[in-house]
């Protein structure tokens, strides 16, 4: 469709005129323009909702909201075209078969072996080995080898040595969705462990010998403690209500040597609504400080984040400080349980704070343990009541921790944001379907590519320059302050206002420091080489001019020019906020103010336009003539690292 306008949400005057394309996998807007030809690409998988708004004199507005919090506002001149686009998008964003998803057509031009190697990058067996398993207390069990015991669990589960197949099977029959207690994390220093399961089908009085034996087995696998904690991450009321439906929680009287604990994290529906409310706050036009803070509090979002974090802290403390094993569950053991186990693991083990370790963590507690990616993030068209930002909350917990402990993580914020992006993008096969079983049936590893390999290849973009493996913050357990600490939880504008460049610091400290680090390293290497050559000069008269000039060029490229144009920025809208002070007299001020709308129109043209958000991807064969870098920003202003283009380059 031609003559479509792409509006800038913060300044309606900066609308771009161009052509809108719909392909099998993307929505693409190409700006008319002499040199730039800026393109905005959006994957259908990313689209969360499409809203057709009332037709105005200028055309028919179409609002596209994305799962990665990007908002695209288009204005289509003809109502009929708008309607066609709307209907098409509705269909395109509600795929019925997995094969419709982008990952099955995405082609990063790797051969079969490279694809296979990519999938092998993260290996859970190696991970459990790293933890020290198998050992005297824990072993790998193949009782679920054909998914015969639990179809949402992996084929390889880790259980206490004293848990026989009989006990496991018996216990699984007493657990919701047959998700029996299995090992998530083992601390070899003190033998304490974190196990996870779903709720027991205890109702008001039902018992199961094998399930009780299972918990005993977990306790016995830790000779250092004579009891285990059983942590139910639900609010007490909800857990009690479940009893009426024949489910519930463990009775301390029936299970010997357990200490039971409710933690009180709300369910997926509450979280879905919470995010919705928070996004509504983000969409407010020129909110006052009051609007924003009230809205944020009203959404309850940060309160939920803190609840998840507190649960993780409790479990980490139990393991690290008390040396007591913990069994965690919620209702089905695939949402809150996953969040809480992975937060706890992150706090306990510095390995998970490395880039590789983090990928392993997600693979372990989310992918292998059957978190329902399809249902939660809407790969395919499904029940809207199943949608919930569960993994988003976990990712935010990690960000909150990064803010509190800036030196503790090997990776940076961008890493988290890109992972979140790709959970929804379906560009890679890692987060498809609801279980390992489904993924194997679809032969995901043979037909799609692994995100981990892609991120690993680009890992230089994801490093935290402040990380040093020998730093005190990176050793041992992280101990976030529990109280007072409410103020420590900040609104993550890097995620929820990701595409509103005007909001963020214009200068990326991370990128700058990474460049400094690189340059320092280069200079040190150069120094070494020069030192050697000096020694060699004693022996021979040869001067290797070629090598010299090549090295000089490289350090020039890295040269940290201070007058870089990424520092330039334009004024924001300062004339709007008049709501905070009620005493405005209508007679006097109004005319003057409206006459003084200091917006882009009045500005000098010398400022480069840095507020563009281009969401560009390559690798789609039918439009392969578009080169990734050409379609983005002007070469002089694009530092590459600061834009989101890096995500999509295959």
């Amino acid at each position: 469709v031609e003559n479509v306008r792409l509006l800038n949400r913060f300044s309606s005057r900066k609308a771009a005129l161009g052509t809108l394309y719909l392909t099998a996998t993307h929505v693409i807007f190409v700006e008319n323009g002499s040199e730039t030809r800026k393109e905005t690409w959006v994957l259908h998988s990313q689209i969360s909702s499409i809203e057709k708004q009332a037709t105005t004199a200028t055309g028919c507005p179409l609002l596209i909201r994305c799962k990665n919090f990007q908002i695209i506002q288009l204005v289509i001149p003809q109502e009929r075209d708008c309607h066609d686009v709307y209907i098409s998008l509705i269909r395109l964003t509600r795929p019925v078969k997995y094969e419709e998803l982008y990952c099955f057509s995405f082609n990063p031009k790797l051969d079969k072996e490279e694809r296979e190697q990519g999938w092998k990058l993260v290996n859970l067996k190696e991970e459990y080995n790293r933890m020290g398993i198998p050992n005297n207390y824990w072993q790998i069990s193949d009782v679920n080898r054909d998914y015969g015991v639990c179809d949402s669990y992996p084929t390889e589960v880790y259980v206490p040595k004293s848990a026989t197949a009989h006990i496991i099977v018996g216990s699984s029959k007493f657990r919701s969705r047959r998700r029996f207690p299995a090992l998530s994390y083992y601390c070899k220093d003190n033998n304490a462990s974190i196990c996870r399961s779903s709720q027991p089908l205890s109702g008001f009085s039902a018992r199961c010998l094998e399930d009780e034996q299972m918990l005993q087995a977990i306790r016995k696998a830790n000779p250092g403690s004579d009891f285990i904690y059983v942590v139910d991450t639900r609010p007490k009321l909800n857990a009690m209500a479940n009893r009426a439906a024949g489910k519930g929680y463990e009775n301390e009287d029936n299970y010997s040597n357990i200490k039971f604990q409710f933690i009180g994290i709300e369910n997926i529906h509450v979280m879905r609504n919470s995010l919705q409310k928070m996004l509504e706050v983000c969409e407010l036009k020129s909110p006052s400080m009051s609007d924003f803070l009230w809205g944020l509090e009203n959404s309850g979002w940060l309160k939920h984040i803190k609840a998840i974090m507190d649960a993780g802290i409790f479990i980490a403390k139990a393991v690290a400080e008390e040396g007591v094993s913990v069994l965690v569950h919620c209702s089905d053991g695939w949402d809150r349980t996953a969040q809480v186990c992975s937060v706890a693991s992150l706090l306990l083990d510095p390995y998970y704070r490395t880039m590789k370790g983090f990928m392993v963590l997600i693979e372990k507690d989310w992918v292998s343990f059957g978190h329902k990616f399809n249902h939660r993030y809407g790969n395919l068209d499904g029940d809207p009541k199943e949608i919930s930002p569960v993994i988003d909350q976990f990712i935010e917990c990690v960000w909150q921790l990064m803010e509190q402990f800036p030196c503790a993580f090997e990776f940076n914020e961008r890493f988290l944001i890109h992972i979140q992006h790709h959970i929804y993008s379906c560009q890679f096969g890692n987060f498809l379907c609801n279980s390992q079983k489904e993924r194997r049936e679809l032969k995901i590893q043979e037909r799609t590519y692994s995100l981990w390999a892609h991120l690993w290849k680009n890992r230089a973009d994801y490093l935290n320059p402040l990380y040093r493996s020998d730093h005190s913050q990176t050793q041992g357990t992280l101990r976030p302050q529990m109280a007072p600490c409410n103020f420590l939880y900040k609104f993550w504008s890097g995620m929820y206002n990701r595409f509103e460049k005007g909001l963020h610091p214009r200068q990326s400290v991370t990128d700058y420091l990474m460049a400094v680090k690189e340059e320092t390293q280069q200079l040190e290497e150069e120094l070494e080489v020069l030192g050697e050559r000096l020694a060699n000069l004693q022996k021979s008269q040869l001067t290797d001019n070629k090598v010299e000039s090549k090295q000089q060029d490289r350090s020039k490229q890295l040269g940290l020019s201070t007058s870089n144009n990424s520092l330039a920025n334009t004024p924001q809208d300062y004339s709007n906020d008049l709501k905070s002070f009620p005493s405005r007299s209508p007679s006097q001020g109004d005319e003057e103010d409206s006459a003084l709308i200091l917006t882009q129109d009045n500005l000098k043209s010398s400022d480069p336009d840095l507020s563009a958000n281009s969401d560009q991807e390559s690798g789609v064969e039918d439009l392969s003539c578009r080169s990734p870098s050409g379609g983005g920003c002007l070469p002089s202003e694009d530092s590459g690292k600061d834009s989101d283009e890096a995500v999509f380059l295959a």
Binding site: E297, Q404, P465, V509, T520, Q572, S575, S585
Partner: protein
């Protein structure tokens, strides 16, 4: 950019030839200027009853008046006290924290101050127009705006030495009554009538700028904290008294040492430098959206929670940059 106090128009709409001529000399034929009045239009109008007022359009035809009300005086001090109370309240749970923060209004004041300063800067930089800033007395919100605007506009004000010069000019010499304003701070029950944390509000705004432009200020947060401390209680005479006249009478320069002299010593100075600084000749335009304005934890939680991890991060940054 000019600053003054309010014109004494009074209820009878008095005129003053000299004042009109003075302002007239600033503008060329056909040029226009902006007057930024830091009181609401209502408050400015009411000021006439007590002898003050605003510049009538008819007498100052080339000047366009804009009202940008900024909080000052008693309400600002209350805002500060409430915020400090909220921060110190260890019993507050997550549910109520944000609404408590909101009810203090402190961040709203930060947003308003930054917006107004940016507006003044915009007038000058984009409209290429002269600006006159005043409130009522010209000693509080006026100085907040003019000083902030200069940090935004002028790269030399962002250097360590330049910033000190800015403080000298726009706060100390300009007659901000430090002795009255920075008396007992937030814990005192005395509730002095003249006390108000304008200078702290200024420092908070500068901190916001440093967060949004981490490479653009030569000085670090530590300098801002030190200035805050010294405004209230100091071993140096820099922030003593209320104006130059009083300092003269008290012979401050003869009897005390200057804070700047101490800060600028080579050994001391390094503690106040920002390791990321790189001279930026451009104007820095901050975002004043609520998401961009954060609570200055380094100040408000200074004694409540350890800044160990953040300090370690800065130490690491220092190490990397020194390289």
């Amino acid at each position: 950019m000019l600053r003054s106090s309010q014109p004494l128009t009074g209820p009878n709409r008095k005129r003053c030839r000299e004042d009109e001529v003075l302002l007239g000399t600033v503008l060329d034929e056909g040029e226009r200027g902006f007057i930024i009045d830091t009181r609401s239009a209502q408050a400015a109008k009411q000021a006439r009853m007590t002898g003050g007022g605003t510049e009538p359009k008819s007498s100052y035809p080339q000047w366009r008046r804009l009202h940008r009300p900024l909080e000052r005086g008693r309400p600002l001090q209350e805002s500060f006290i409430k915020l400090v109370e909220a921060c110190n309240d260890t019993s507050a749970n997550m549910d109520r924290w944000l609404s408590r923060l909101e009810s203090c209004r402190w961040l709203s004041h930060v947003k308003a101050a930054l917006s107004t300063a940016c507006l003044a800067a915009q007038c000058m930089d984009r409209e290429e127009a002269s600006v006159l800033v005043h409130g009522a007395e010209g000693t509080d919100t006026t100085l907040l705006v003019t000083a902030l605007a200069q940090v935004i506009l002028d790269p030399s004000c962002r250097t360590l030495v330049g910033f000190q010069g800015l403080l000298e000019r726009e706060w100390i010499e300009a007659g901000h009554p430090f002795h009255l304003r920075c008396a007992r701070s937030a814990y005192s029950h005395a509730r002095l009538k003249q006390e108000a944390p304008l200078f702290l509000l200024f420092l908070d705004c500068v901190w916001q700028l440093s967060r949004q432009f981490p490479f653009s200020l030569e000085f670090s947060e530590r300098l801002l904290l030190t200035l805050f401390d010294n405004a209230y209680a100091s071993a140096y005479g820099t922030f003593l008294c209320n104006n130059e006249k009083e300092r003269c009478l008290c012979k401050v320069k003869e009897n005390t040492h200057s804070l700047w002299a101490w800060l600028n010593q080579p050994g001391e100075k390094t503690k106040y430098l920002n390791p990321l600084y790189s001279h930026n000749t451009l104007v820095i335009w901050p975002s004043v959206e609520p998401q961009s304005i954060q609570l200055w934890q380094g100040l408000f939680f200074r004694w409540i929670r350890s800044s160990q991890y953040v300090d370690e991060a800065w130490a690491e940054i220092q190490r990397l940059v020194e390289g």
